[in-house]
């Protein structure tokens, strides 16, 4: 890598003199405009409005509401659901990814699993919840599972359905990065299989594993349509309450509450993604 970069920079001034070049930042402009309009601007509006009362005056008192009832219950609900679904998703997905990685790298099974995971990781929302409701809901075709409407377990099962394939997709490259030579070296030095995993495999994979788990956590945090199609009568998690606070046509809408709740979610995502970036950097040190 280093060698090509050096020769690249060496060659550049010669070429630059021959034909006019567009400034480098121009290429990133569409991306920056896109991010600006669809991510930064809405985020900014939400943050600003969270600090304002409905009449527009500065208002800091609403910022404590996420720590008070009833708003606190939506945050604990979100945390419970994300934690359970990401732990189950990460563990099951990691096991599945390991099984796939230990198979034939060019085999049909591996290609099939990756293709299926790619599809199922995106299979969420109303369709997924509807499928579960029809199968095991109150008048389910298959069975009527009595736990189906207990929070968070019923909905966690539905979430796990898209978390496992996502884990396979993001964790498989990390397992593939474990070099066969490391295992051979450890074997030839007389280490047992347990010792290999305890002192080599697990420490190497840990940052990637926890990073992927955090990604699943964030994935579950923002899911909305799935839980609304499952349970429309009770708000358990933050996105559900944001929806009610914005949409009530019976006079209960409270946009300020929605902004405050959304700000709470932005803070949560910021913490998670910082942790994710940190773990990714740790993981990248060995696995490339």
């Amino acid at each position: 890598m280093a060698a090509t970069t050096a020769s690249d920079t060496g060659a550049r001034p010669v070429r630059a003199g021959r034909r006019p070049r567009l400034p480098a930042w121009l290429g990133t402009t569409p991306f920056l405009v896109y991010i600006g309009i669809f991510l930064l601007l809405p985020t900014g509006i939400v943050v600003v409005n969270a600090f304002r009362s409905p009449s527009g005056a500065l208002n800091l008192s609403s910022l404590t509401t996420p720590f008070e009832s009833p708003d606190r219950s939506y945050f604990t609900g979100s945390l419970e659901l994300c934690l359970i679904s990401s732990v189950f998703g990460a563990v099951l997905g990691a096991i599945l990814a390991y099984a796939i990685a230990s198979g034939d790298p060019d085999g049909t099974v591996r290609r099939l699993y990756i293709a299926v995971s790619g599809v199922l990781a995106q299979f969420g929302g109303v369709t997924l919840a509807f499928a579960f409701v029809v199968l095991i809901g109150p008048v389910g075709l298959l069975i009527h599972a009595s736990w189906f409407y207990t929070f968070p377990w019923g909905i966690a099962v539905i979430y796990t359905y898209f978390q496992v394939p996502l884990m396979v997709l993001v964790f498989l490259p990390a397992i593939d990065g474990l070099k066969a030579q490391w295992r051979e070296a450890s074997d030839s030095l007389g280490a047992s299989s347990w010792q290999y995993w305890r002192y080599v495999g697990a420490p190497l994979l840990a940052p990637a594993f926890f990073g992927a788990a955090l990604l699943l956590f964030a994935n579950a945090l923002s899911a909305f349509a799935t839980i609304v199609a499952w349970e429309n009568q009770i708000a358990y998690i933050v996105p559900q309450q944001i929806y009610l606070a914005i949409n009530s046509e019976v006079g209960l809408s409270n946009v300020n509450q929605a902004d405050v709740l959304a700000l709470g979610m932005i803070v949560m995502v910021a913490i998670i993604m910082t942790g994710y970036a940190f773990l990714q950097r740790r993981a990248a040190r060995w696995l490339r």
Partner: protein
């Protein structure tokens, strides 16, 4: 009238908003109006909400694209009367007094009563209390969350009326649903056409025009209005006071409130909605009696929630609903 028609034809266009073609027969109503007067109807945002309509009036004010006429929910209409132009259609006196603004700013157009739609596999149901029976396990659903959706709030209010409550208190309805939940009969998904077709919501509380077999598209579907719990809900018409096509807007209202065989009132009725002049039309014989007989029977005096009763109900639900059904 002839002058109005001429002026409207000169404008040549009418902007309507939030009128789904499958809702209350609006597809036919629009095409009949276009054919009859040769005026082009621009239908914007057919699936929009009442609030979307008001937002469009404000945001597009002064442009040629602004909505001329509105078909709007009462809660939204009453707080936005400053956007409306007064107008009284020629059949004004046939609209019941309680269902129009005396100044002519808004006038209810069509609506219906809260009803119970159910799969025919349950036999015949005649009362709300039957829904507490063991054969309705996981079967009873609302059209939305009552703290959010008006149809669902009225579903709970109907249960309240059926259990001795009054329009001023929804508490008995909430306790009915609490009992329904504890017996395992309440299904907390939102009932939609898809859930009814899939059979996951075999009993649905909804407005009768949304609960007719022809509307839900399921043949073995029945509907009844509980006796003594007749809860009405009507939409209203209003004209944008800055309408880009003021004459066409007024002609449209005349058409909608026309009692002719192919006028708006009978066309709404053909779509399963109850036109606001139904009573007068039944007396003067202009009603399409074949279509009228297809509507579920009503026994008892209809109740309409006032603005303050609806607000009271919503506030009670905000404090008690989630607890009652969890």
């Amino acid at each position: 009238m002839a002058k109005l028609v001429a002026a409207a034809k000169k404008e040549g266009t009418l902007n309507v908003i939030a009128l789904p073609p499958t809702w209350a027969n609006y597809g036919t109503i629009i095409s009949t109006f276009e054919k009859k007067y040769g005026i082009k109807v621009n239908s914007a945002n057919p699936d929009g909400s009442s609030q979307d309509e008001v937002n469009a009036v404000k945001q597009e004010n002064g442009t040629a694209a602004a909505p001329d006429v509105l078909d709007i929910g009462m809660a939204v209409a009453l707080v936005n009367t400053n956007l409306f132009a007064p107008y009284k259609v020629s059949t004004w006196s046939d609209i019941p007094t309680a269902q129009k603004s005396s100044a002519g700013l808004w006038y209810q157009d069509y609506g219906g009563y809260m009803s119970v739609g159910y799969s025919a596999k349950f036999g015949t149901i005649t009362s709300m209390s039957q829904l507490l029976g063991p054969k309705f396990k996981g079967a009873v659903a609302l059209n939305g969350n009552p703290t959010e959706a008006n149809a669902a709030l009225n579903g709970v209010m109907m249960a309240s009326l059926a259990n001795g409550g009054s329009a001023s208190s929804i508490a008995k309805g909430v306790s009915f649903f609490s009992e329904l939940k504890s017996k395992g009969n309440f299904d907390s998904v939102q009932a939609t056409g898809a859930t009814i077709k899939a059979g996951t919501t075999p009993v649905v509380l909804n407005w009768d025009y949304l609960n007719l077999p022809s509307y839900v598209g399921v043949s073995n579907w029945k509907v009844f209005i509980p006796s003594g719990a007749v809860l009405g809900g009507y939409y209203a018409q209003a004209i944008n006071k800055n309408a880009p096509h003021p004459a066409a807007a007024r002609l449209w209202e005349e058409f909608l409130y026309s009692q002719a065989a192919s006028g708006g009132q009978n066309l709404w009725l053909a779509g399963g909605a109850r036109p606001v002049e139904q009573q007068a039309m039944t007396s003067n014989g202009t009603i399409n009696s074949a279509d009228a007989s297809k509507l579920p029977a009503v026994s008892g005096t209809p109740v309409f929630l006032s603005q303050s009763q609806a607000t009271n109900a919503a506030n009670y639900l905000a404090a008690n609903w989630a607890k009652a059904v969890s």
